[in-house]
């Protein structure tokens, strides 16, 4: 669905066509699910949060003006809801090599000993290692790193999705990246 189609559905919805509103709902639902699952720690109940975000989007659909892409507008609601959920969680302690699984240790080995891209066998270990490295960051920094490095969004896209200014994103990304490097270096130093 394109943004023009979303706007057309919204116009029809305001005229009483509820099927058009349901089309919008089904369009944005997978996007909300992916965002919430990606940005919420595994121990949290993502399903409740997905439903909370969906209800907020539907209740505020009137406020969508079309100035930003529709999915960016939805992302902003999802990101802020996730941030409110995880804002008060306690910071994780430093990551040690002993905290890693065998797959994750293999990934660290491969990264250190070769300059080649990791192969598909290391994908699961890489995803888990990234999750543990990101776990030690502040919630907003964690979400930013995921949007920037895991989902490949540009600074402009992230600004549109979160409402943060470009300057704030760059400063936050620089600081978060430095913290990631420090956590990763600690692991490398422990490597035999």
């Amino acid at each position: 669905m394109t943004d023009a189609e979303v706007t057309a559905c919204l116009v029809r919805g305001r005229a009483g066509d509820e099927k058009a509103i349901l089309d919008i709902f089904h369009y944005m639902y997978p996007h909300v699910t992916r965002l919430v699952h990606a940005n919420l720690p595994a121990r949290e109940s993502a399903e409740d949060l997905v439903q909370q975000v969906c209800m907020k989007v539907m209740a505020n659909l009137h406020q969508f003006s079309g100035k930003v892409p529709f999915l960016h507008w939805v992302s902003r609601i999802a990101v802020n809801t996730c941030l409110n959920q995880i804002r008060h969680e306690k910071r994780r302690p430093e990551l040690r090599l002993a905290d890693l699984s065998e797959d994750e240790v293999m990934v660290v080995e491969h990264l250190a000993t070769t300059a080649n891209e990791l192969d598909s066998a290391d994908q699961v270990g890489a995803a888990e290692l990234v999750a543990k490295l990101l776990d030690g960051l502040r919630p907003a920094d964690r979400i930013l790193m995921k949007l920037l490095y895991l989902e490949g969004n540009t600074i402009e896209e992230i600004s549109s999705m979160t409402g943060w200014s470009r300057t704030m994103i760059k400063v936050r990304a620089y600081r978060a990246r430095a913290q990631l490097r420090r956590r990763y270096l600690l692991l490398m130093k422990e490597k035999p």
């Binding site: 439903q51 009137h62 994908q123 990631l180």
Partner: protein, 100 residues
Amino acid sequence: MNTINDQLNRLFRAARATPEGLAMPPFGLETRALAAWRESVLTGAGVPFWSGALLFRGLILAGLVMLVSLWPVINQTSNTDPFAEYFQLADSTVQVDNTP
């Protein structure tokens, strides 16, 4: 060069999630989503008036207005002149007596 930055970049590239399939909403969510839409249409705005954030801001504003309106009274009662009230009472009595 296999710097820490290179390693982190390769790690992130390997960890990028594959695109998910179409997720289906749980039973009943569609109905509730439509209900939320209908409610927003009825209120005429996207946000219900009992929205937590709006209510909180409204309460703070109301408190500030009350404080500002009560300030002259508080200021007046802290006047140390022991005869101030009597003069005011006498003055108001005189004014009442003068009305036709």
